[in-house]
Amino acid sequence: MNNIISGLRARLAPVADRVGTALEPVGRVLGMKSVKYPLRTVGVLLIYALPILHLPLINTENSDFSGVLFTVGTYVLVALGLNIVIGYAGLLDLGYVGFYAVGAYTVGVVTSEHGQWPFFLALPLALVVTMASGVLLGAPTLRVRGDYLAIVTMGFGEIIRIVARNTDWLGGAGGINSIPSPPDIGPEEGLFQIPHLSWQYGYPTIDDRVTKVLHFGVLDATPYFWMILTTIILVICADMLIKNSRVGRAWEATREDEDVAELMGVPTFKFKLLAFAMGACIGGLAGAMYATRVGFINPPSFPLMLSLLFVAAVVIGGAGNRWGAILGAVIVAYLPERFREFADWRLLVFGIALIVIVSFRTQGLFPGRQKKRVAQAEKEVQKLEEGAEIV
């Protein structure tokens, strides 16, 4: 497997270099320094274009492709948030769906059940409310460690769901209906319109389907996907800025050895709470977007199973590496949609995949370089120790 990947990489590298060199002037005009940036820009543009390109093989034939992409987007956002909690700070949170639900319910309450707020006003409120719920849950529980924290957080996820079911103000068991789409920006027919492609015998033709830019209808999920993709990019930027600072180091130190971190001057509780609040906030963001997209939420939309799928996404990809978490989320959310025929097998397949990964690639599919080296070093030490025993 590794050989195939490195072989592919070796073959693709010259191509990528050539593309990069060709694009360098573009990058220079945009004020970008290295070849990497134009390449990245092209990559990002390609992802933006996915829902209108309908590329063969990637496209989901049986379900609306834009809708699938949006769902994948929510998982990616959730995985990014959970990666901060599990991957960076080392806090196993098994009730992450609770924050997702709080975000969704906040939007539901103020835009439909008890108010007519526009979505873009409800969104910041959802952020504040989920962050507050993260602090409220974290403040009493982050003093317990490891397995206990996992159990307490799992309880939190369940409590949120049960409270929602038993509170009429939150719509009770029936949930909240007719949550509005975000308000359209620009004129009725959209700022401008982009036609979709369709593919026949490997050739693209321009379709009669069009997407109205910044026009959030029920039928076309593409603008929602663009909204969540933009959010994901912003979150990744924030993640990079924070990780590469005192905050990121404090998280890592706490994860590696909490007692020593404290003795080296890290107020570990404060930083764990910060990780929790940030994670909650990003989970809530995903929940809020989910609510405005589907227009209807009820307690069963937020089962414990979803929490476990979120954790699976982070762990499969390799906790602690944001790109790994993203890959994990794509695997967990996209594959079952692409291979609908096997959707019933989804849990079984993930169960097996998790077991395989945990047994054979303990650091996830896509571990950070550092973790790989730790694993390698540990193996070498083990060998040395085994050798010593024989002597």
């Binding site: 005192r246 180091r249 050895d257 080296m264 890290v266 730790v374 070093a377």
Partner: protein, 264 residues
Amino acid sequence: MSESEDILLELEAVTIKFGGVVALDDVSMTIKKGEILGLIGPNGAGKTTCFNVITGVYAATSGTISLDGKSLAKRKRYQITKLGIARTFQNIRLFPSMSALDNVLVGADVHSKVGLLRALFRTPYFRRVEPENKRRAVELLELVGVGAQPDEISVNLSYGDQRRLEIARALATNPKLICLDEPAAGFNPAEKLRLMDLIRQIRDLGFTVLVVEHDMKLVMGVCDRIVVLEFGRKIAEGTPSEIQKNPAVIAAYLGTEEADDDAA
């Protein structure tokens, strides 16, 4: 300078009990600014426990500890570090999957006010403090002799480098007092000599040093004063030559060694 101004750390009648075990029994001692104080005693005498109570890992059952006249009671561990006490560990406890540089940076971060917002917006404060800390961390890595591999994760460093990296991490907190718990454990004679130089160098940079060590040549060679513990009690205190002549020490400490030799 009056005598009280001279004193950096003061332990007054400190006692710690773990259930029935009295790990420290009514121990009083002072560390003066700028000195290298050795803390010796047989295994289980309470040396590490002494470090633990100074750095706030354990609360004293009775007695007081003060740094620069400020009581350390009821202070959290990270606050004590910020106040000016840093330490290394008898068993190496680095942050294993963090790079050597990041390990030191965690120490240097003690006095930094960078939080979420400063990191997110890369404020002028951030752009001043983070590179400055990084520069200092690199200097410290070079001081202790791990400068060649700043980006190597700490578990991959050699055993000696890991021990020295712990010293750099502690120094990065810019402490008034640095406590070294058996820094020469597992070192060969050449490494021990280099460590002695390093300890003197650290003192010359203005730090006060408290060192626990079993190697008598090192302790006698580098310390200004020595405190001897046995079964949690302080049995002697003085200059290296005084300690070497002290009958109680010879009986308790060196005597056990003879007894060990006899047994062997």
